[in-house]
Symmetry: C2
Subunit: 354 residues, 2 copies
């Protein structure tokens, strides 16, 4: 608290990111990072850049990330003016809340969802209504109507559960009056992107990140896909905030990632395969696991409290995420690790639950 | 324009950054980048990181940039809780406008100054008053009183002119009721940092960047120094916007830069020396040059229009910045380049002016 703060700063409820502990040999399954590294071609390109043109770091990056924008547009079969790049999908989302969701009617999003959404609403003074998930934790598309805006993750987080493209389209048709954001941070682990609907719905914005399936959380690149008028709105907000949000190496790394489709596919498939193995192994150990299309599972044990399991795992060097919130306080969100990490997790669990 | 935009997006007047043309062999003197590369130790550290721990790019960076914050605090003789790091000083400034300048009374800044300030005001709905510079383009500290906030660059941009620490202190004493930001993007080229006043003025925020004197514009790192309560306000806003604004390589690069004081000093001294040579050479060619403490000069020719000179230079592969604005439309802002670039500039000028 300070008398020097703008008034609204006192009312902010900042997001609390999963911890990034600096402990060696931790089995880190708490922030949904990829268990595999980025494409070796990404690392090679960055090394070459530093050797051949290292002094160019003295120069500002391209403020529009034009080359990366073009690569992403080509990859998704879109035009360059349908792509916006930012400093991680969190920054892209922040600009999108500002650009589209300050409306008379409230913004709608699921009550159990990415916990940054209400934080953005606090930052921009956006009125919102959290729509309860069904009893089985699924999103009912029909619950989202007459909104000032709609945002949902697909698959949802932290549940991991997926909406079909048909359900997304139903939601778009019921909300032609406002922007609908589909936040696809985890879509590459079993979902279908709504990007294919962009040319039919000028109110659809699809947001993706390179932090999960492309293993570049450390480089902070995310992007939005949508009608050129929506992208233009994002650009106007971005250029009123920070002209150069994506640094030279991040632009290069992101671009190289899209140019190694094989590495991307192999990594995603390995995570999907190991997710199914982990789901079965957790079920054997008395866990109820929600059906996941993400790189994590959301699981509740039949008899042992999630908070206690999280503490017990941590004591053994395994960290997972526990949200102390209504309806989900008995669940753990567990990132899919390497086969070795998943085995270590199960061994640690075996020491805690019967 | 789009019916889907939030209302205020239609009223934004985004900042227009200096161009980053992709033309080879350009003498690029338009965006005040360092003519020299970053410390070789920065490049070496980044290369080593990519070789030894490249796969760590899959992991999120430290959201608080703690190690970098500590390095900067030590460098400036401050505590860690007096330092805030962001994605370039533009992002730091954006958060600071939001955190401190939404007040009942108007924000004050010079009428000729960094043109992003009024843009931030548009983004956050901040009422401001542009205070005219004196006839000789100097800032009169006594003109800034009873404000809801004060921000000024020192040295000022695009004039390059410096306020003394005594004048800064006069300004702080006259404005104990609000936050005063001293934007020191160019302070290392001849100014004295106001960081030494932080422990006496809890309303002072000093903002610096690694984009100019540390030759890391391409990596996007800036920071703020001030009382822990002000830093806390910035952290609250940042964590309501984007938890991880500075990527892993940017944090490392910035830290390594502070660990090579010799490279930093040699680069700054070379720029200062070449600035004095350029000022003399421009004066010989009929230019009026404002006294500069920055890595650029602001110069008007006695008889030839600045806009025409800029076009004539561009035709010869030399780009400088011209602002088509009242009072300064006859000036050119020219970044100090390498001795070779400065010679090329003068040769190109000799073909245009007598």
């Amino acid at each position: 608290m300070s008398k020097y703060w703008s008034k609204q700063v006192h009312q902010l409820h900042p997001y609390v990111p999963g911890e990034q502990p600096k402990i060696a040999n931790l089995v880190k399954l708490n922030t949904n990072e990829s268990p595999y590294g980025p494409s070796p071609k990404v690392l090679q390109l960055l090394r070459d850049e530093l050797v051949e043109r290292g002094d160019d770091l003295r120069l500002y990056p391209d403020p529009t990330s034009q080359s990366l924008v073009h690569t992403i547009a080509q990859y998704h079969g879109l035009q360059d003016n349908q792509v916006f790049v930012g400093n991680g999908s969190d920054e892209v989302l922040a600009h999108a809340f500002n650009a589209f969701f300050i409306q008379t009617k409230p913004l709608l999003f699921p009550d159990i969802s990415y916990s940054f959404y209400p934080v953005y609403c606090g930052l921009y003074g956006i009125d919102y209504r959290a729509v309860p998930l069904a009893e089985d934790f699924s999103i009912e598309a029909a619950d989202y109507r007459e909104a000032g805006g709609v945002i949902l993750p697909n698959p949802n987080a932290p549940t991991g559960m997926l909406l079909s493209l048909a359900e997304i389209e139903e939601l778009l048709q019921a909300n032609r009056q406002c922007v609908v954001i589909i936040d696809e941070a985890y879509v590459n682990f079993g979902g279908q992107s709504a990007a294919s609907l962009i040319d039919r719905y000028d109110n659809l914005l699809v947001v993706q990140t390179l932090s999960k399936s492309r293993a570049l959380a450390g480089m902070r690149v995310g992007f939005a896909l949508g009608h050129a008028d929506l992208i233009d709105g994002l650009v106007r907000v971005k250029d009123s905030f920070n002209s150069y949000p994506v640094d030279r190496l991040a632009q290069l790394a992101a671009q190289a990632s899209f140019e190694d489709e094989a590495h991307f596919q192999v990594s995603c498939q390995a995570v999907i395969r190991d997710r199914e193995l982990l789901v079965a192994a957790l079920a054997e150990r008395g866990f109820h696991v929600l059906p996941s299309s993400a790189n994590f599972v959301f699981a509740a044990h039949a008899s042992k409290a999630a908070a206690d399991i999280a503490v017990g795992l941590r004591a053994q060097g395994v960290i997972v995420r526990h949200f102390n919130k209504p309806r989900i306080d008995n669940f753990l969100r567990i990132t899919i690790g390497t086969p070795e990490q998943n085995t270590a997790l199960l061994a640690a669990l075996d020491r805690l639950v019967d």
